[in-house]
Amino acid sequence: MAAAVELEGVNVTFGDFVAVRQANLTIEPGEFFSFLGPSGCGKTTLLRTISGFIEPTHGNVRIGGQDMKGIGPNRRPTALIFQNLALFPMMSVAENIGYGLRVRGVPRHERDEKVKNLLIQVALTEHGHKRVAELSGGQKQRVAIARALAVEPKVLLLDEPLSALDLKLRQHMRTELRAIQKKVGITFIYITHDQGEALTMSDRIAVMNAGVIEQVGDGRAVYAEPRTPFVAAFVGENNQIRGRITQVADGFATLETPLGLLKGRNPVGLGAGEEALLFVRPEALRLGHDGQANGSGFEAETLDVAYEGSVTHVTLRVRTGQKITATLGAGSALPAPGEMLCLGFAPQDGLLLKRPERA
């Protein structure tokens, strides 16, 4: 079976501005795939390139194994759910859902039948005659999904459709979207800047920054095994410390920093003398009063203690003035503001990555 979507050296430029640079990616059939990145990272451009609103400047887009060059958005086997949903206000809910079938010339009775089934599927049976303006946020969301599914696309593209919703509803819709995807079994490509959404829903995630796909992997991989400093910093909270590699051994390396020598994993194979960044998750930091034997520890002054019940966030300041965050589990002894502490972490919780030149 051919891949659902293949991107091959896709570049999109607007004048001098490079929106997407060298995107290479294969998305499998039936996959829930997310593009995660800050606004302006090019993820929406990439989505619009897949749906056909933008032609790539270079490279190819293939859907179901077929090259999409010169094929307009109205002839691609994709359906897009817009950020603002773009429901048609002058049509009823049923007309909205049936619109794709209407323009395909599907006969009326067949169309009505299908719309009825879709209304059942998204639990809007009673609302078919209503205007879009009469619906709640969640109902509108479901109309948009039903409208897109009506045309039986091979790939459903979703452009941050949940961002306008109330927080409570947003969390509920995550589960619902995932359930719908499981049920219809087609490929979902989801765009978001919200890592929570990406992590909870996706089979795989592509993290994007400044037009470049930095890393592709499942949720655990991008969180626990980031391969670039951007991914490490963007997905989840992370502390970073700059330094230079002094010593390399068995997948670990030692970093010389203003805070002393610190040891961490070296998955990308940095060599001695290279500039690097050390990442340590707040939950991996241990607070104590005595120095660590293996050298991966440093002193810090407690600035602020924010108790949240299940966890407590502690903000500390190290000798260089840099701020460090530590997250303590329930039941930990809490420091007092102003207290000097020693922070330590196990070498396997420290992650060394190459420092980007511009940083």
Partner: protein
């Protein structure tokens, strides 16, 4: 624009313009100023053609070419149809010379009647524009900022009623009002202010009142729209800070609504200076107004080139006025034609 040359221009100009547009858009696309799908790709062929044909016909055959034809004609001599395009059909400034100096056989040094009529028209139009602004501004402000919704709807309705009564009837209303047996003269005589009916029309008072009246609404609606978009809190804030009322108007309301002010002023000026109905209905035999003179060039003197020249003089004056207003208010054309 006679003969083959004229026809080439008529057909060539739209073509040249279309080519320039295509070239320009290609250039901007390459420079990155424009993105997204091309014109026909975006609209589809059928709709794209409709857009091009409709806009092309409008811009060229309804707007540009007629104006050019008029400009062209104004530089040509008056000739019988048989000689048009012939050896005598040469460009000349005769029609403009006539405006300044009158007939070659006349003894007077300048064509005083036309020149005076012209400057009187411009001067009076400016005064009427200013007058209309002064009387409309307070009402527009009241409607936009302090009237209740019910009251606003009422006021708008009252304003709209006279709006669609055409100019001739509006002028006629003043004729009824001001005639020697009209109600104003009845009142004046009844109260003993005068013993004889006052001839408002011969004194041109009727004309000026009628002109001001005719375009009053062209002032109030742009003003209202502009002032309405001003945030009420700004005025409240200024008042809290102790600004006197004239200060609020001069430094907050007016600067904010200057597109509306400019729009109302240009419209009223243009309509007043170009008014034909009011002078026709309210003017006396000795009334000086420029538009009836233009009209007479065509239908009394049957001298179309001269009429075209006179029309062009009026048009240029209006353009200059618009430009001066735009400059004075530091606005672009787009801001005043909303």
């Amino acid at each position: 624009m006679s003969g083959i040359g004229g026809l080439t221009l008529t057909i060539g100009l739209p073509l040249v313009a279309a080519l320039v547009l295509v070239a320009l858009s290609a250039y901007e696309r390459r420079a990155g100023a424009a993105t997204g799908p091309g014109f026909f790709q975006r609209n589809g062929l059928a709709i794209g053609l409709y857009l091009v044909v409709a806009v092309g016909f409008w811009a060229f055959f309804i707007i540009l070419l007629p104006q050019l034809a008029m400009v062209d004609m104004s530089f040509r001599p008056k000739l019988p149809p048989a000689q048009m395009g012939g050896p005598k059909d040469l460009y000349t400034l005769e029609n403009y010379r006539y405006f300044l100096f009158g007939s070659t056989t006349s003894t007077a040094e300048w064509n005083w009647i036309h020149i005076k009529a012209f400057f009187l028209t411009i001067g009076v139009s400016v005064v009427i524009t200013a007058f209309n602004f002064v009387i409309c501004y307070p009402l527009a402000f009241h409607m936009a900022q302090s009237a209740t919704l019910a009251r606003l709807r009422m006021l708008l309705l009252l304003l709209i009623i006279p709006y669609w009564v055409n100019e001739i009837l509006r002028a006629f209303a003043f004729r009824v009002l001001l005639s020697s047996g009209g109600i104003i003269n009845q009142l004046l005589m009844g109260s003993g202010i005068t013993s004889e009916p006052f001839d408002f029309l011969a004194a041109d008072i009727g004309l000026y009142m009628g002109l001001s009246y005719a375009y009053l609404l062209m002032m109030i609606f742009p003003l209202y729209n502009a002032i309405e978009s001003l945030d009420k809190n700004q005025i409240e804030a200024a008042r809290d800070l102790g600004a006197p009322w004239w200060h609020i108007h001069a430094f907050i309301v007016m600067p904010h609504s200057k597109p509306g002010i400019a729009s109302g002023c240009t419209l009223v000026f243009m309509l007043t200076a170009g008014a034909l109905a009011a002078p026709l209905v309210l003017g006396g035999p000795r009334t000086l107004w420029f538009t009836p003179i233009v009209y007479d060039r065509f239908y009394q003197a049957f001298n179309w080139p001269q009429g075209a020249a006179y029309a062009l003089i009026l048009l240029v004056t209006c353009i200059v006025f618009v430009l001066v207003v735009l400059k004075a208010f530091r606005l672009s054309l787009g801001e005043i034609t909303r």
